[in-house]
């Protein structure tokens, strides 16, 4: 057997992953990176889709998202929550796309878009109750942290399996069209998810039936330890739209202005009956995949450094400052407020009973429990009554 027959080009591509501007090839030229704000945030943007107030408000959301992520990671380290997965470095992508849609539109999240849930009105304390899986958790303690759902804000339920939400978002928007309602769905997924079965069927179904869905790929460069170059040989994610006869667009995912503008464009196309769009937001996962992951084992820090300089928050802050919307003092105040808001919500969430009641074991399996669930709940209840160890994490004598 030959020692290494792995295609040379694959290794080359991968080693070159750090280098930013590889010689553009045909497809990359057809799908140029759309950008409004300079990479360092300096100077006037090519165009400005947001009024001052909106802009400041979205900046605040981005700050909140970052603070949320940092706080949750800290809480996980302290053992106060079991798991966390955040969006550090991807804030402009998450909030820019959320802001580019209309309030009645439905959002199908992946698992990093907690800020979008809050943006859609989920109370922060409710989000934290989900992190804790406690008695006040809307998810009844059924799901891992970071798997929130918020129906009033048309924010669908998160599941762990990669890609499943994609055809679901298509189905919802298809249903809306059938009902004659103008709703456009938006669905988030990573570039890793483009390899999934459901990416393929979701985009293909949407293409055939011209379903009004905006497909947002957060191309953050990594699927846990697998770099984009090992995920697909296509130069861009946007060009995958060609396979489905739909529109594709590549946007600088760290440029809030560009993300908002591109999302609005895609939404307008969808609403006008011109079909779905695959929107590739080029960004970067600055931290580990989740609190269960330490990227040092597979990702040289040199790869990350250039992206730290492109932090979407710093970039937007500079723009706001140059635009005269934000001064150092105001920024500090905003940060303090946001931290306060988060701490208050955590406190509120932690006040609830850490365990949901025993009945939640069988709630929501069916509209009404069947005899199996009822009997089994009673079995567990009786078992606990006989021996409280049944309900305790450590039962060893």
């Amino acid at each position: 057997m030959r020692r290494t027959t792995e295609p040379r080009e694959l290794r080359r591509r991968e080693n070159g992953a750090a280098k930013e501007a590889a010689a553009p090839k045909a497809e990359a030229e057809r799908y140029p990176l759309f950008r409004l704000l300079a990479e360092d945030g300096a100077g006037a943007p090519a165009e400005s889709p947001l009024a001052d107030g909106e802009l400041l408000s979205l900046y605040r959301w981005m700050v909140l998202s970052r603070q949320l992520d940092e706080r949750m990671v800290a809480m996980q380290r302290q053992g106060r929550i079991g798991f966390y997965i955040g969006a550090i470095g991807e804030e402009a992508t998450v909030l820019g796309t959320a802001a580019g849609m209309q309030p009645g539109d439905w959002i199908f999240p992946c698992y990093r878009e907690h800020a979008a849930a809050l943006y859609r009105g989920m109370p922060m304390a409710a989000l934290f109750c989900d992190m804790l899986g406690n008695a006040a958790d809307l998810m009844l303690g059924h799901q891992m942290p970071c798997h929130e759902a918020w129906r009033p804000g048309h924010y669908a339920s998160i599941s762990s399996p990669i890609g499943t939400q994609i055809p679901q978002a298509v189905g919802a928007a298809w249903a809306a069209r059938i009902k004659g309602e103008e709703m456009v769905s938006l669905v988030y997924f990573g570039e890793g998810a483009t390899s999934s079965n459901d990416f393929h069927t979701g985009l293909n179904f949407a293409g055939v039936h011209k379903v009004p869905t905006v497909f947002v790929c957060r191309n953050n460069g990594w699927a846990i330890s697998v770099p984009r170059e090992r995920q697909t040989a296509s130069e861009t994610i946007a060009q995958k739209a060609v396979a489905y006869g739909i529109a594709g667009e590549r946007v600088d995912g760290n440029d809030l202005l560009a993300v908002v503008a591109a999302t609005r464009r895609a939404r307008a196309r969808a609403a006008a009956g011109e079909g779905p769009t695959l929107l590739e937001c080029v960004t970067y996962r600055l931290e580990g995949h989740s609190t269960s992951d330490d990227p040092k084992a597979y990702r040289p820090v040199e790869l990350v450094e250039p992206w730290r300089k492109k932090d979407p928050l710093t970039r937007l802050r500079r723009h706001l400052t140059e635009r005269g919307l934000l001064a150092e003092a105001g920024d500090q105040k905003l940060l303090a407020e946001v931290k306060e808001e988060i701490l208050a919500a955590i406190k509120q969430a932690e006040a609830a009973d850490p365990k949901p009641p025993l009945e939640t074991l069988i709630q929501g399996v069916y509209a009404e429990p069947m005899w199996q669930q009822r009997e089994q709940l009673e079995e567990v209840r009786a078992a606990i009554a006989l021996d409280p160890r049944v309900a305790n994490p450590r039962h060893q004598s």
Binding site: M139, H142, A156, G171, R177, I178, N197, D198, G202, Y366
Partner: protein, 324 residues
């Protein structure tokens, strides 16, 4: 009452429910313009248009995945999987999404739908057009599994399934799709899910079956009667919810039971029924619960009659049970 076969009864139920409730839609491969390869959705495209009788691309995962989104948005999708053997590309959407959506969102959302699919062997279909995959779905909490044996039940159970708040897998016995004919009530007709049908009363042994195999069970019971064996026959109709009371009630009386299914024996639904009976009727059992089932092999092509648990094999099991 008109005499229909099972396909016609299914078609009748779909048509009536689509007339009654504008949120009911059907989708799948070939179900729209063509009306389905078994013609179960004939006429729906004409009557309700391409928005409610939809042809989809060839991807079961996409059919179920989009159906989830439709259900979340308030439609009541009735996706068709052309053959139950082809349900596996959609397994992830069914097991991890459809079945868990209500639970995982704490009841904020649910995605009721009726996944219709012809199942089973005896039509010279080999192992890719004959499988009986009910175990996979009965073992998936959050799903209901319904299998009619007769045209009347096909209509009544499908109607109930469409109105049910939970996702239902509706397996249609294609072996008797056309062969099973019978009177079917006109207009709205419901048979509740979770109620077994005692199709023959008896005292000596309880014979449990469903779908296409109920017809074999019924014949075996008739032949057994001629031999002086008095058989009570249960058609389960719905495997989840399961009418365990009907089973218990019958076995407490007879003390003996035989269960029949086409799927491979190991971990088939017969195992669950056997386990339940011995858990609940232990002191009344006079013989082991026997299973007459498909073999632990893929479904064969040429020797499918040898494979299928048809009446002659069921009869032998009945004899063995009563003489135990």
């Amino acid at each position: 009452m008109p005499v229909l076969n099972i396909i016609q009864a299914v078609n009748d139920a779909l048509k009536l429910e689509m007339r009654r409730d504008p949120s009911v839609v059907v989708l799948g491969e070939d179900v729209g313009r063509f009306g389905g390869v078994f013609r179960a959705t004939t006429g729906l495209h004409e009557e309700f248009g391409p928005d409610r009788a939809m042809d989809t691309p060839l991807a079961e995962s996409g059919i179920i995945g989009t159906a989830v989104g439709m259900a979340l948005y308030g439609l009541k999708p009735v996706p068709e999987i052309q053959f139950a053997d082809f349900i596996f590309p959609a397994m992830d959407q069914i097991v991890n999404e459809v079945a868990k959506y209500r639970y995982r969102s704490g009841g904020q959302w649910s995605c009721p739908m009726v996944i219709r699919s012809p199942y089973g062997g005896g039509i010279r279909g080999g192992h890719y057009h004959s499988q009986s995959p009910e175990t996979h779905f009965i073992h998936t909490p959050g799903l209901k599994v319904v299998v009619p044996a007769t045209p009347e039940d096909a209509k009544g159970l499908l109607t109930s399934a469409i109105r049910d708040p939970d996702p239902v897998l509706f397996l249609e016995p294609k072996r008797v799709y056309r062969a099973a004919r019978g009177e079917v009530p006109e207009g709205e007709y419901l048979v509740p899910l979770g109620k077994a049908r005692v199709t023959r009363a008896g005292h000596q042994v309880t014979l449990i079956a469903w779908g296409a195999m109920w017809h074999e069970a019924d014949q075996a019971a008739r032949e057994a009667e001629a031999e002086g064996i008095d058989v009570e026959v249960l058609d389960l109709r719905s495997l989840q919810p399961l009418d365990v009371e009907a089973i218990e009630h019958s076995v407490l009386k007879t003390g003996r039971a035989v269960v029949v299914h086409e799927a491979p024996r190991t971990c088939g639904f017969g195992a669950e029924i056997s386990a339940l009976i011995q858990e609940r009727c232990f002191l009344h059992l006079e013989a082991p619960v026997l299973r007459v089932t498909g073999l632990d092999t893929p479904f064969p092509y040429t020797l499918e009659n040898e494979y299928l648990p048809r009446a002659p094999r069921i009869l032998q099991a009945l004899r063995r049970t009563v003489t135990f």
